[in-house]
């Protein structure tokens, strides 16, 4: 099956800086693809190249198999939802949605029908005559999407469209966007710096850093099987140490951190003497009142609770071990540790498989 969108060896340089450095990916039809990265990583540049506002220095962009490099933005079968939505304030909602159809020279009654249909689809029937500034943030969001969707683009680009919304609405819109994508059955390419948006909505996520794709995969892939230290550190929260490998047996490694903590971890391609970075997620660490409860784990140690970070289901403990390392540990909400308070002694443990290791300095290498 031909992918809806395919970028091949895409490079964009501005003077001496390389904003996008040899990026290739393809997005299968009907999927929700996210590009996730910190600000300045080049994700907006990719998006603007796909939309046609920028020309790539080298490389190719194909939509439904055909190169669109020579197609101007107003002729490309892609549409874009802008960060601040960019609704036309001088037009009514119906005129906004009908704008692209008018440009295609569609007849007036047909435009009216399509606009009504689109408003129906986004659950806002009958608001066509209103002005843009009479709408709430979420309604504007939906109108901005409808304005693109009436044109039935092959690919819809979304440039951090939730950034301007408040937290509550943002949570709600995540679900709604996913639903809209399913309803329209169109390929969405979504860029964001917010990992939760990407993880919740996407079929595939590309993590981008410094102009390159670090890893492309599903949310689970990225979360549980990060391939680079950047991905491991960027997606989700994590405890992070650096240390030296003391022993390597198959996939299991024996290391010692700089503060002298010994632990077992998993990782490939590392040999004794190498420096490595170790990542352990707070929820991978098991908490127990006694050392016996942790017998099955490769790593165990005890420490004192220095802080309880209560945040409902996502509550954490900060535990300091004898060597002075502080670890973030998820506090299970099973009732077992309700009475825990600062200064209490606890035992913690985790399996070698939960501790991921990367050779230090591997960040840029592949």
């Amino acid at each position: 099956m031909t992918p809806d969108l395919e970028c091949v060896d895409l490079v964009k340089r501005f003077g001496d800086t390389t904003a996008v450095d040899n990026v290739s990916f393809s997005v299968p039809p009907g999927s929700f693809f996210s590009i996730l990265g910190p600000s300045g990583c080049g994700k907006t540049t990719i998006m603007r190249m796909i939309a046609g506002f920028l020309d790539p220095t080298t490389g190719d962009i194909r939509i439904k198999g055909g190169s669109v490099l020579d197609t101007p933005p107003n002729k490309r079968p892609v549409n874009m939802v802008f960060q601040h939505l960019a609704l036309f304030p001088m037009m009514t909602i119906a005129e906004n949605i009908g704008y692209g159809l008018r440009r295609r020279g569609m007849s007036k009654p047909e435009i009216a029908r399509k606009v009504d249909e689109a408003l129906e689809r986004i659950g806002l029937p009958g608001i066509g005559a209103r002005k843009v500034d009479e709408l709430s943030g979420g309604q504007k969001q939906r109108v901005a999407i409808a304005r693109c969707m009436v044109l039935e683009p092959d690919v819809l680009l979304l440039d951090e469209p939730l950034g301007a919304l408040d937290l509550k609405l943002r949570e709600h819109m995540k679900v709604e966007l996913k639903a809209l994508q399913a309803a329209f059955d169109t390929t969405f390419v979504y860029i964001t710096h917010d990992q939760s948006e990407a993880l919740v909505m996407s079929d595939q996520i590309a993590v981008m850093n410094a102009g390159r794709f670090e890893q492309v995969g599903t949310g689970q892939d990225l979360y549980y099987r990060p391939e680079t230290p950047f991905v491991a550190g960027f997606i989700g929260d994590t405890n992070r140490w650096s240390g030296r490998i003391e022993k390597a047996e198959g996939g299991t490694l024996q290391l010692r951190t700089e503060s002298g903590l010994a632990m077992r971890a998993s990782g490939a391609g590392l040999a004794p003497g190498d420096m490595a970075e170790i990542f352990v997620r707070p929820e991978a660490i098991r908490l127990a009142a006694t050392a016996e409860g942790l017998a099955g784990f490769d790593n165990h140690l005890s420490g004192t609770v220095t802080s309880i970070l209560f945040n409902g289901a996502a509550s954490r403990l900060l535990v300091q071990d004898a060597a002075g390392e502080t670890l973030e540990v998820t506090l299970p909400q099973s009732g077992e540790f309700d009475r825990l308070k600062r200064g209490d002694m606890v035992h913690i443990g985790w399996g070698a498989g939960q501790a991921t290791c990367f050779a230090t300095g591997a960040a840029g290498a592949r």
Binding site: A51, G52, F53, P72, P73, N74, K75, N79, M80, F82, Q83, H84, A86, L87, F88, P89, M90, M91, Y99, G100, R103, R104, R147, C148, L151
Partner: protein, 285 residues
């Protein structure tokens, strides 16, 4: 306490009231009264509408009146056509320093008085002037070319004089237009022309209207440029007012002309607002 703030309020209001009252309203009432009288003999005047009758029946006066209005509208239109791309470039294409420099360049001619600016044009365009000499030197003309004293020259002068007053409001409104709105216009299939027509111009409308009003008023009320650059055929309405007041000592007719000009400019501004469906409040606020 309340009384005190009232006093302060009236004190603050005073300059405005004095300015409006003493310098605008009272002189206008006086002018109106003067325009409504007719000289009977030495120092004896009668109430009458004779001045307006004369102004409206004498073809010469009416023609000058109409000509001034049409030429001012034309000057406004030309100014808009030239200023819009300039303003668009300054507001949307130029960045950082260049933007400031360009804006300043628009401002520089206004550091000297209008008289000096007009003399500048005369030095450039006269028969023995720089442009004429340049054309001859370049072999494009085999004898001195006179470029002064035509309607076209006068138009150049009027447009030049009004430019800044069009560029400033346009730059301000265009700057407030989010770039992504323009991009969205293209992205959704708009061509350059349709984006201009449906997005940029509607957005810039307040700037266009207020710029046009100012430029139109300036052109209509201009005296120096038409008299100095216009030459022998270019009778401007303000010149006629000056003639009646100063040269002819006929204040009655001059005052009537003045009021006709006031009415004309009010009507055209009102028409302009009606045409664009805007209120004065929206445009000026």
């Amino acid at each position: 306490m309340r009384n005190q703030s009232r006093v302060a309020f009236y004190l603050l209001l005073m300059p405005l009231v004095l300015w409006l009252g003493l310098l605008i309203i009272i002189p206008h009432i006086d002018m109106l009264l003067i325009s409504l009288r007719e000289r009977v003999s030495f120092g004896v005047y009668d109430r009458s509408l004779a001045q307006y009758e004369k102004a409206l029946t004498e073809p010469l006066y009416l023609r000058t009146f109409a000509r001034t209005a049409v030429m001012s509208v034309l000057a406004t239109a030309i100014t808009l056509l030239i200023a819009f791309p300039v303003a668009y470039y300054i507001a949307k294409m130029a960045r950082g320093r260049l933007q400031q420099v360009l804006f300043l360049l628009c401002l520089i001619p206004f550091y000297v008085s209008e008289l000096v600016r007009t003399f500048g044009w005369m030095i450039l365009l006269r028969e023995t002037g720089i442009v004429s000499n340049l054309l001859q030197w370049a072999g494009l003309a085999d004898q001195p070319v006179e470029m002064l004293y035509t309607d076209a020259t006068m138009m150049v002068g009027l447009v030049y004089t009004s430019m800044l007053f069009m560029v400033v409001p346009l730059v301000t409104t265009l700057e407030s237009l989010d770039d992504s709105v323009i991009e969205a216009g293209y992205d959704l299939g708009g061509s350059g022309l349709s984006v201009l027509r449906e997005i940029i111009i509607p957005h810039a409308m307040p700037g266009i209207v207020s710029g046009c009003i100012v430029v139109f008023m300036l052109s209509l009320g201009n005296y120096l440029t038409p008299t100095m650059l216009g030459g022998k055929d270019s009778l401007w309405f303000t010149e006629m007012i000056y003639n009646q007041f100063i040269v002819r000592s006929n204040w009655e007719l001059g005052a009537a002309f003045g009021f006709m000009l006031l009415v004309l400019s009010s009507v055209i501004v009102w028409g302009m607002l009606r045409l664009t469906g805007r209120t004065l409040k929206e445009t000026m606020g």
